[in-house]
């Protein structure tokens, strides 16, 4: 099977993730969409590694998974903290950092 199909799937998943990040206001969904983007990148890495016949891309994908797990831990922690302080669970409402 040509690598093109893998890359197409990866691109579709990535764009879905981007769309989710840009349009959804629930931080939980934003986090999910981020995961989608990361996994799309993982897919592309693994596909390239396979096509070129070396293992480095696979190792890279594993590392990205570890990082993604950490990120999710932090992100979910933040969301739980927001929930506990009864703050709105809406990224548009959380804009104290405006200039």
């Amino acid at each position: 099977m040509s690598i093109t199909w893998y890359l197409c799937v990866s691109a579709i998943v990535f764009c879905t993730g981007v769309g989710g990040v840009l349009t959804r206001r629930n931080p939980l969904v934003v986090l999910l969409s981020l995961e989608l983007m990361l996994n799309a990148a993982n897919l592309a890495l693994v596909a390239f590694a396979r096509a070129h016949g070396n293992q480095e891309g696979q190792i890279f994908a594993l590392i990205v998974m570890v990082v993604a797990a950490c990120e999710v831990a932090v992100g979910l922690g933040l969301i739980v903290a927001l929930y506990r302080r009864r703050l709105p669970i809406d990224v548009d409402e959380l804009r104290e950092l405006q200039g």
């Binding site: 981007v18 990040v21 840009l22 349009t23 206001r25 934003v30 990224v91 548009d92 959380l94 804009r95 104290e96 950092l97 405006q98 200039g99």
Partner: protein, 671 residues
């Protein structure tokens, strides 16, 4: 101990005195600072005598010793050293300064005793003596400038010593500002000379002056004029003289020490020290001679009419320094320096006697309210008369020899200098008149109330303490004069100091009797060995005799005239004043120098300052620079702030856009 050790000791004693007095200000028992200060200056005087003997042991040609403590900077072309030049001229000045200062310290021990700032006074006074000695012993231009500025600062501190008196602080500021103008002149002059000679060291500069500069070279004349500006400001010569009469706001010992005997003669010393430069730039020397002559006449006419006792002596000081400046600028060095020395003796004596009278008047300095102190204060009267006779130039008092020597030497120049000498004779007539006007008005006539009190044995005290100039009521705490007054008749140390000076004022002239004892001339010879005029310029015996005779006649005539006017016919001065009203008011207003300087310099500068503050500052600085900068920053930050919306999705979209643009760029550039 060698000459160099003595040289450094001369400087270190007063410095140590100043430091010790100031550091122990809280510890010293009452009266101790005065004695410490006096002892420090006496030690300095003893070192000067030691240096004198050490110098005399050297051969004629070796009597110019430079001693270097360390180099400040020895980069290419700059030789800045802490060096002293010990030669007959500097030792002569050190002897005069430290000798007179010792006596004045001794006088102050009693005179200032009831003042609350006693410790501070002696710390300042020792600092002044240190600065003055640094000035006269300095071996290069750099150290000279340092000493010069220190002396100005010490003068400021001492004039505004009674710092809660507004008149005193204003006088201090005026003196300081005018002295700084002189400092600028000195620094600029040094720059012009350094430009040509390439050395800051005195001896190196002097030795190479003929190679460095052609005769009347533009740079050299500019440099010498710069030095003259410094000398005029320090020595109170026209038109930079207006600070000296105001400086009489300081305590009387300060007037005696700084504004009569030592500091104001710094200009004379400077010209004498720089004689190789002035001889190479005769144009500048001529300027000095003419200004000196103008000052001596102008100051003498003002002294005729002022009614403040101390200001009469102050104007007399200006006038006498005019003589000295005229002498050294006409290359009659011995005469000028001789008069410097005798003047230090008799003028310090006159000020001390005046201080005694002022104390008896409880601080009042107005001649119009004095009279009849002769019986109440016989000792002060005697000292005043001795000082007055010396000042007027009556034989055989010291001023007779020194002043007439100046006039004979200036006349011996045989060109237009003769006219200057002629004006000098007019000045000596005026000197005799104003001196004895002051003495007759203060001591003869009917005794005033303070004099009558004193005759009955108790010192007059004013009902309340007031500023004699403005009548403002004062207390006697620190910053104002103390509660008690001290007169020579009741104070041993004042008597000793005045007695010593009186003796010196009588016998000081015998050092240098024309054709008989020329001690000073021979002593100073090594310093002036390179001068073209020192040996050649010599009045003929006939001229000397004529000068001495004319001087005597004028002095005695002046005294007789003063006696006639103010003692025998007491109504005469009033009617004379009425007849000569315009002249009197012209002199009484000090030739309107203050007003002219106010109009020409102070007002335009004040206007410029106000313009700067109200217009330039407000529109250009605040409006354009400060306002413009803040405006630009504010507008820029507003634009940046608008981008910080706080919407997470907005940031994400921007990030995505940026990455997309970057990716597109590399894709397109790569293909």
């Amino acid at each position: 101990m060698g000459l160099e050790t003595f040289g450094w000791l001369i400087l270190l004693c007063p410095l140590a005195g100043c430091v010790v007095i100031s550091l122990g200000a809280k510890l010293w028992p009452e009266g101790a600072p005065g004695w410490i200060g006096t002892a420090a200056i006496a030690a300095s005087f003893a070192s000067s005598i030691g240096a004198l003997f050490a110098l005399e042991d050297l051969g004629e040609e070796e009597r110019q010793v430079v001693t270097v403590a360390w180099d400040y900077a020895s980069t290419a072309g700059v030789d800045a050293q802490l060096s002293l030049l010990l030669d007959p001229l500097s030792i002569f000045m050190a002897l005069t300064v430290s000798g007179v200062s010792t006596l004045i310290h001794l006088y102050s021990v009693s005179y200032m005793r009831s003042d609350r700032g006693y410790t501070r006074f002696f710390a300042y006074l020792n600092f002044f003596v240190f600065s003055m000695l640094l000035l006269v012993l300095a071996g290069n231009f750099l150290l000279l400038i340092v000493g010069w500025a220190f002396v100005g600062a010490a003068s400021y501190l001492l004039i505004s010593y009674w710092y809660r008196r507004t008149t005193a602080t204003r006088a201090g500021i005026k003196a300081f500002v005018i002295n700084v103008i002189g400092d600028i002149g000195l620094v600029l002059g040094t720059y012009f000379i350094f430009k040509g000679s390439g050395s800051l060291d005195f001896l190196t500069t002097f030795d190479s002056v003929e190679e460095s500069f052609s005769r009347n070279d533009g740079d050299l004349v500019a440099g010498c004029i710069g030095l003259l500006v410094g000398a005029f400001a320090k020595s109170a010569q026209v038109p930079l003289h207006t600070w000296l009469p105001d400086a009489m706001e300081g305590p009387t010992p300060v007037s005696a020490l700084i504004h009569a005997a030592t500091m104001v003669t710094a200009g004379v010393y400077l010209i004498a020290r720089m004689h190789p430069l002035f001889e190479q730039a005769p144009t500048a020397a001529d300027v000095g001679a003419i200004v000196g002559c103008a000052t001596l006449v102008i100051a003498a006419t003002i002294a005729l009419v002022v009614t403040d006792l101390k200001r009469v002596i102050a104007y007399s000081t200006m006038s006498q320094i005019g003589y000295m400046i005229m002498a050294v600028s006409s290359f009659a060095y011995t005469a000028g320096l001789f008069h410097l020395m005798t003047h230090a003796f008799f003028k310090a004596l006159l000020f001390m006697a005046a201080g005694s009278v002022i104390a008896a008047m409880a601080g009042n300095q107005n001649l119009d309210e004095m009279g009849g102190f002769r019986r109440a204060m016989p000792f002060t009267f005697g000292c005043m008369v001795i000082g007055g006779l010396a000042l007027s130039g009556v034989p055989p008092f010291s001023g007779f020899f020194s002043k007439d020597e100046i006039l004979a030497y200036v006349a011996a120049r045989d060109d237009w200098h003769v006219a200057l000498a002629g004006l000098g004779f007019v000045g000596s007539l005026l000197t005799a008149i104003y001196t004895f006007r002051m003495i007759f008005r203060a001591f003869l006539g009917d005794p005033v109330e303070p004099a009558r009190d004193l005759e009955q044995g108790h010192l007059y005290h004013a009902p309340e303490h007031t500023n004699p100039a403005t009548g403002e009521v004062e207390d006697t705490d620190v910053g104002f004069p103390g509660a008690d007054h001290h007169i020579a008749e009741q104070e041993g140390s004042m008597k000793v100091a005045m007695g010593c000076l009186a003796v010196l004022a009588i016998v000081g002239g015998f050092l240098q009797i024309p054709g008989v004892t020329e001690v000073l001339h021979h002593f100073l010879e090594p310093t002036f060995a390179d001068s073209a005029y020192y040996e050649e310029l010599h009045p003929s015996d006939g001229l000397t005799a004529l000068g001495l005779f004319t001087g005597t006649v004028l002095a005695l005539g002046g005294i007789a005239l003063a006696y006639h006017l103010w003692v025998r016919t007491p109504d005469a001065p009033g009617s004379l004043r009425a007849k000569l009203a315009p002249v009197h008011s012209f002199f009484f207003n000090k030739w309107y120098f203050d007003e002219i300087i106010n109009t020409l310099i102070v007002r335009p500068f004040a206007w410029f300052g106000r313009f700067g503050r109200n217009t330039f500052e407000r529109i250009v600085i605040s409006g354009l620079f400060v306002g413009g900068t803040t405006g630009a920053v504010r507008a820029g930050s507003a634009a940046v702030r608008a981008a910080q919306s706080g919407y997470l999705r907005y940031y994400a979209a921007l990030l995505l856009l940026g990455v997309t643009v970057l990716g597109a760029y590399f894709l397109l550039a790569g293909s």
